[in-house]
Symmetry: D2
Subunit: 332 residues, 4 copies
């Protein structure tokens, strides 16, 4: 089912090359100022354009698909304020090239959902650009995140790329991208997100811990391979006396190995987590695939229009998704 959230609920719809992608937000409190301009900054951060890119790499290696990405608010806002009714927002898909995808019905692209979607939906799924599985669906997520961050007034989100192509040194990223582009190949990356000023005790015991809810939503972003909180996988190699966060004055943790969460509840320290993104699946380098019509192996070259490293567009997406989760948890 395409909804997430208990008290602040996000429903996404649309396909990459259909008329629109959109979102319905339910549980938005009444009285929040909201207009279409509010979305511009975060949408720019997600766009393939140079604007809004914090990693210093501009539009390097970004897809040639350009969209206006202008939000249209269809409901839930009156006189410039939210009404408490469901907020529906859509974005037109203007720059569509469905013909790019005709060949993949028979020869699914490695790393994409083409094959599994065709099996699950008996060939009725919209295959154009991944259809409902496309990265374009993260656009309404970012829009939803803008609203969630308004709901979470006073809470500070920051997120950035901390590794690209295996390197944690930003000075090397430009070269890595240029090289991969030249090879017709692609790169992955790691995004870190930090959330400050959360009250103590956010989260629900047992199933709906802060980590559970954030990871659930984060894995909805296409291309995520892992998530870790605080010391993360390194914690498994530490001793308890190293990893534990002693309590300092006022009960605030004196360090933050737990990533701001104990027993699934926020403990007053910043919530810190990292997300691993795989390299872009679409590469122009030839790959082996199976031709389901001829029942033979075949070499596939994915042209289309793609980012060399889509992880570069993901800090704002990760942050948006985290905001959706926290708006939900805080409204319970």
């Amino acid at each position: 089912m395409n909804s997430f959230g208990h008290s602040f609920r996000v429903t996404v719809f649309g396909e990459s090359h259909g008329p629109v992608v959109g979102v319905v937000l339910d549980g938005v409190p009444a009285g929040i100022e909201l207009c279409e301009e509010d979305f511009a900054e975060d949408i720019a951060r997600r766009s393939p354009g140079a604007e809004g890119k914090a990693d210093g790499l501009g539009a390097l290696g970004m897809t040639a698909r350009k969209e206006a990405d202008k939000p249209q608010i269809l409901s839930g806002v009156f006189n410039g304020h939210t009404t408490g009714s469901p907020l529906a927002i859509v974005f037109e898909n203007a720059n569509v090239r469905p013909e790019d995808y005709a060949q993949f019905a028979a020869t699914p692209r490695p790393g994409h959902a083409d094959f599994v979607a065709a099996i699950k939906f008996d060939g009725n799924n919209d295959p154009r650009g991944g259809g409902h599985f496309a990265g374009r669906l993260t656009l309404p997520l970012v829009a939803a995140g803008v609203v969630a961050k308004k709901v979470l007034d006073g809470i500070k989100f920051s997120s950035q790329l901390v590794a690209l192509g295996g390197s944690e040194d930003p000075s090397k990223w430009e070269e890595l991208i240029a090289q991969a582009a030249k090879e017709g190949d692609s790169l992955g990356g790691v995004v870190e997100c930090v959330i400050e000023n959360l009250p103590i005790g956010v989260g629900e015991p047992f199933w709906d811990s802060v980590e559970s809810m954030i990871s659930h939503a984060i894995f909805a972003i296409p291309g995520v391979r892992g998530i870790e909180f605080g010391d993360g996988f390194k914690a498994a190699a530490m001793k308890g006396s190293e990893h534990n966060d002693p309590f300092g004055p006022d009960g605030r943790p004196a360090k933050n190995g737990a990533g701001g969460i104990n027993g699934g509840l926020t403990n007053g320290a910043p919530v810190v987590f990292r997300v691993a993104f795989k390299p872009t699946s679409s590469v122009s380098k030839p790959q082996m695939t199976w031709n389901f019509e001829t029942e033979a192996e075949e070499t596939l070259t994915v042209s289309g229009r793609h980012d060399v490293c889509f992880a570069r567009r993901c800090p704002v997406i990760v942050e948006s998704v985290a905001a959706l989760v926290l708006a939900d948890l805080l409204q319970r």
Copy 2:
């Protein structure tokens, strides 16, 4: 809220030192053979006893708290078969020592939920042994997993410890545990879980991807710091041409960098994921904490009864939780 699942729903209740811990399972199909003996094997794998331990370390460094862990089926079974009505199972807590925990009301234990739970519930939470936040709540999870695995007839789960105390070499684990025990310290570990024979297309697009659902449930296990699927965090350092799984004959992936999942749906390869467990929070080594009564820093020694490395008991828990998730996804 303490329930998880849409069509196969698990509700847990109980406290570590209260009368029972228990679970209600809803959505169990009618007609499955089930008796109390069916739970014995997995319960032994979770217990602190030597029996059922696959890592060759026996009861080394395990807690002295021993419980019979005998399941009582309260409803949902008639004539040795499930009825289709909710299945309630409880376990008595016999070997309780609530007096071990009296001191932690004022001086919360680093790494535990004592502090955040007291804040969230205004001091009304049951603090004895972590109360509802205790690792003991994983016992009903294992019981639920036994039922889920019966529902998932033909699907094969296996899980094992792949790292302990930072070492992936099992020949070193005994020494690492002995050393940590001697120091009054604790160790973490990594559990890998592999699930075979799943049909293609399990999972839901967008929010309820296989990774989303598994990670949501896995982070409900106390002490998890990270989760990764397939190539996991390593994928972020790979090129697309390396990480992508080419399609081989019959559309089966020719390798398994994606951990058996594309676009959130199973692709026919085994689902593979790894979970990082922190070191046990309770260490007898002195730690700094804050005394909320005297409002002063204080040194705390956690005696009680604890595992040196609780991750050793977690393979069956990880596997059980995965089974719950897949029973739910497959029944949708």
Copy 3:
């Protein structure tokens, strides 16, 4: 929250005088033929026009607000078939006259949600024509019902007005409406719905009985005051030997006092229920209200554009809502 359903989920959005009203349907199976023409017949039954009215009264006493009510499918359909992804449908609101409603901010209309909505949403709700509380929101419900009935292939829904203005004799209805219109007053009615060919055993024990789910959804239709199944309120005055349905050959009930449902589950007989609709709240006859600005009683005349008896438009709405519920129960 504005969603309903577990496995076939309906999310409605929009306001009476905003840009659109719409619906997102989640859980629609892939491969169902669907185009915009499929909605025409049921939309006509709901419209205030003469077309599609089964009660022989044509457009008598119907509102002067006319809308094209043309559905736009935004997602979830590809090549004329559903894809298995969320199906979003919107309808433009063209014939809006928000100025009709300016006065009701201070002097709420009796019988409407103006007052309670203003309290609940701190005055941020959209007051124009009832905003999100308007009868216009039943248009996306009818659209959703069209899809649900396609999903429920072979199951037959019929519904009709069985009482109007207190009379069960259709020959008197024309006169009753003419008289009420002349008086500037309004009338209520009762709709009966019959559902045939359901399999035995639909519904869930305990909370999600067929009656529970249908009544939940029916009371979402504005203006419902009661619902009864089978013998309904009359059953409370019968003896067990009269009300019980004896089993006849093949276990089929020999009569249908239970309305096709035992223990919350369908029993093979037609599901039969009746819904009481109040008279239209908007009447041009003067009514007392409270002026919240002057803090004085005041006489109010509701002009606007309204049906004398909106229950006449409700058979298709009742049937649509029942179809949504049954699509959900049958997909579990």
Copy 4:
């Protein structure tokens, strides 16, 4: 699924002649005083004994099955207060006579769920006394209602039988019961519930209106045939000018035709609704049924132990269910 509620969630389990019936309550706020004695009064009102009966008829025509109905709190209470963790309560079934029900496997009882449950669960359901479909499951509902009413401090619930055997005159009820008992027959009744002191604006627009939520939960009580709010079915025969509630001073409705609810939200007047209960299905008078083994019609006499009019035990059940719903809506 056997759970109800969004923020105050009730999960019931158990069978009439199994070891226990029970309930898990999730979302109970921490810090509410609660002990086992708190349940005694409402449990007596539901019991078949004379104690606690407000209708003046004592134990007349009540079942001979007597149970201690003593609640055991298994979790969620510590030091006499709720902890914020799930509250589990069970009741033993002591006075079971499963042998009473052996014959109904082949010849299902008219009016009961025997037949539909056997079909739905492929014969695996527990048939003893209706199993999970039995009226005994209303005992944990009443227990849950006691907790809900504590959560709803200051809100006043009252409910009573307003019709029995078709008569609204209590002076005739004793005779009606005596006569029905003599005939081996049974009677139905109508229960009215009034809820005072609710704040304005409780309920959610669209799907989770107060009427939707109450009716959903009320139809979970075995034997309900209809529900109506305020003027109810009579509203369908009234004119708008009669049925509408004019606003009086302070915006309070000057009368209560709407039953305290506009647009699905409470309006400050008491919430008033009536519930129609069918006559007890078990009658000793001979009834026709179908023998599924011999495939022939057969005459059935239901002996067992039954109330002549189980509606007499229902005022407290109706009130409890309403309290569960309102605790949920108020906690959202």
